[in-house]
Subunit: 473 residues, 2 copies
């Protein structure tokens, strides 16, 4: 039963397991103590730090082990901003950062700072020129820029080295969230801080990395603690740290060959999915990509139902659809890219995934999507002209309003498709909806169907939003 | 080679090792994911939470796993204070709390709040009436009281249930740092929050517990994160959490018998150490104690040198002497108790310590102390009347000043002892010192020697402090 949610967490690498076991006997004492047991623990911790620093491409004394990648991001952002509080209280982040970064930005705003997002193109990529422009337009000085190395939902890699140059020229440090990319290789470029997370490469949970280059101003968060240069409070889990470092090195030893192999499988999926499943949009930059992530969205599909159907077929995948989220809003990443969020599926292949695993997935996907669509769609509703008497090119009304209030994704888009032919070509159909996904998915549907999206406005005299579409064909 | 630093960290309990291994296969996925792997991880996490909650004596939904005991303390204090920000910004802590609590108090002060310490008696115990008085005297409202269940340096247990009553009557929540006591039993009384740390009972590092009783106002720290009720950000290390819960239950199964056995060994040490080693003060409450901790201080001994001598003899112990600390100040716990800090040794026995281990320690201790004293003391200097011509009861000067500036603990006290007889009985000897330990150890020496401590004053016209002692005999 293939597990295709590698970007969420990987099972322990065999080397992680071995290292963990080996370090249990010597890694339990307090490494700050001068006695024999403490010194043994310290030696393990020091050796792990050297191993991890080599993999990151930094000096051991620049590297801190943290209790998670989230903690590394939070501590890195807070520390860099506090260290440069005099230079500026403005924080610049890309619009597709991990929620850990966005939550840190919110906390910074709540504490009186300012923060802004740099947008991305339809592939999810940040333009270095946009970073430069945002730095130039920033109110007061900018304390920190955060750009992820590669996106966790769509696999798009960012031009980190170029963005680092822009930041260097502006004298602003750059924090790179390398959670998804670090297993595959060190992050090039003159970044200032870097964060990563061990369970993304088959290391244990509970271990993050935070690298802070020498010369970067950094004020550790309070309350103070003497461990890990004051950047991660609390007693270290040294066996886990040892396992994290050892498994990163082991993952890297296989990374180049595995990346080439998985990239081929991903390319196959990116090409085949739209052929096998109608009305599907493959998302993410086609060239600048992680080797193991492929993401697509399926029109007229409830993402949660599709996840369930794939799980029944034996495939564990992930989704950025709003219907799978407790927040009822579609993924901010898909939103920032402006792509369809309905029926969104992220497939992330663990090392060792075979060609046969991928073929089996491609074999079950069409039926899984068709089954989910059949539950939602009236027969023929979204697939072609309905048998409505108004359905002629010049017949039908000049305007029609669909009330989808209170209906959740993907129903508003399904109702839009079902009722489009009630208006004549050139006529305007208005969808009233209060589901957050409609804002993203109605324009995306128009682009996929060649219809003209006219925009949105508050629903006059009522709740929700009115989305207007001109029938083009 | 006995390891007598159990209060710092314990080697992994066999059950912790087994549970860790057993959970590696099923505990690596994201427990927030709906797929099979995620659900398996979630089941392990839920079961661990139930086990730990039972041991704590709270409901599972009141218990959060944190990345460390320090994190539990920091998050608990910050969350409770933020949740009651309208009720009051004053924080009350005992003077002998762990540094994690004191650092959180400092951070609270730096953020504009107020904080005060409740003192302890010479045994290290907080009087509930003192907490009541401090609450009554607090400026504005008090947001939180923090009192540890048992002290990590001297083993003194606090009257937590009584203090909880005082707090309840005042309508102020009580946070109990149970890091040292939780392995031995649940903490009774109506506490509001409780923090603990797994490596203190043979669980792995990287796992703390934070219990927050229903009804306690609590605002999680920012940045926000959806895991662990928002109280501990980042991906959980589930195998470590499982190991922590299982080993707590296993430790508890042996705790009653082991506590009785270790208490006897500790009582033997508390009785024998002063008999075997002259000028030694056993510290900590003689009755209200942890079963496995004994602490004593040795006059005219450099704590670091004694630790080293004991390590050479094969015993790993700890010390609160300033000379073993990077901060050059003696332990704040010993300072709050007003006891001698020179030559301080904390012996904390792990489960399984044998009577023979303790006897061996008692056998090597006198020579270890004597060896260290011999390095520092001129022959006979501190042990009896010096062969100084001025040494007669009515001879000698009326006043004499010893310049110990620039000399570190325990030298100022040694020089005071060596020169005391330069003044006649009733005369005053003044010691000039700039070592922080002198403030604690000169009065403690006077109490041990039956001399009259007159107090301290700034050294007029020079650096350091002038400590004045009247020769009584």
């Amino acid at each position: 039963m293939p597990y295709f949610d590698a970007a969420s967490s990987l099972p322990p690498h065999p080397v992680a397991r071995q290292a963990l076991l080996a370090a249990l006997d010597d890694g339990w004492a307090d490494p700050a103590r001068p006695h024999r047991e403490g010194r043994r623990a310290r030696m393990l911790l020091d050796a792990a730090r050297e191993t991890a620093a080599e993999a990151v491409g930094c000096r051991p004394d620049e590297l801190t082990f943290t209790p998670s990648g989230t903690h590394a991001v939070h501590a890195g952002i807070a520390g860099a901003l506090a260290g440069r509080a005099r230079a500026g209280r403005h924080l610049l982040v890309s619009a597709v950062e991990h929620s850990a970064v966005l939550h840190a930005a919110t906390a910074h705003r709540d504490a009186g700072g300012t923060a802004a997002e740099v947008g991305v193109d339809r592939g999810g990529r940040v333009a270095p020129a946009d970073v430069a422009a945002a730095l130039a337009a920033a109110p007061g000085g900018t304390g920190l820029v955060c750009v992820q190395a590669a996106n966790h939902e769509v696999g798009t890699r960012q031009p980190v080295a170029e963005i680092a140059e822009v930041c260097r020229a502006a004298g602003v440090p750059l924090l790179v969230d390398a959670a998804q990319s670090l297993p595959w290789g060190p992050e090039p470029g003159a970044w200032s801080l870097l964060a990563a997370s061990a369970h993304k490469w088959g290391g244990p949970g509970g271990v993050g990395l935070l690298a802070v280059r020498k010369g970067v101003r950094f004020a550790p968060a309070r309350p103070a603690d003497e461990r890990e240069s004051g950047r991660a409070p609390g007693f270290e889990n040294i066996p886990a740290v040892v396992a994290a470092a050892a498994s990163l090195r082991a993952f890297r030893a296989e990374a180049e060959a595995e990346a080439a192999r998985l990239s081929e499988l991903v390319e196959r999926m990116r090409a085949r999915v739209p052929e096998l499943v109608g009305d599907t949009e493959v998302v993410g930059d086609p060239v600048h990509r992680l080797p193991h992530v492929v993401t697509f969205s399926c029109l007229h599909v409830d993402g949660e139902a599709l996840l369930h159907a794939l799980a029944v077929a034996g495939f564990a995948v992930s989704s950025g659809s709003s219907c799978t989220s407790s927040t009822l809003t579609p993924s901010h990443v898909l939103r920032a890219m402006g792509v369809l969020s309905e029926g969104n599926v992220r497939v992330s292949l663990p090392p060792g995934t075979t060609s046969e695993d991928v073929d089996r997935f491609l074999a079950v996907l069409p039926d899984a999507v068709a089954g989910v669509r059949a539950q939602l769609l009236p027969p023929g509703a979204a697939d072609g002209p309905a048998a409505d008497p108004a359905d002629t090119a010049d017949g039908g009304a000049a305007a029609f309003t669909v009330d989808s209030l209170g209906k959740r994704c993907p129903v508003p888009v399904i109702e839009l498709a079902a009722h489009l032919t009630r208006v004549r070509v050139g006529g305007v159909i208005t969808v009233l909806a209060d589901d957050a996904a409609a804002r993203l998915d109605i324009p995306a549907w128009c682009a996929m169907r060649g219809q003209e999206y006219l925009g949105e406005a508050p629903h006059e005299g009522g709740p929700g939003t009115a989305y207007r579409v001109r029938r083009a064909a």
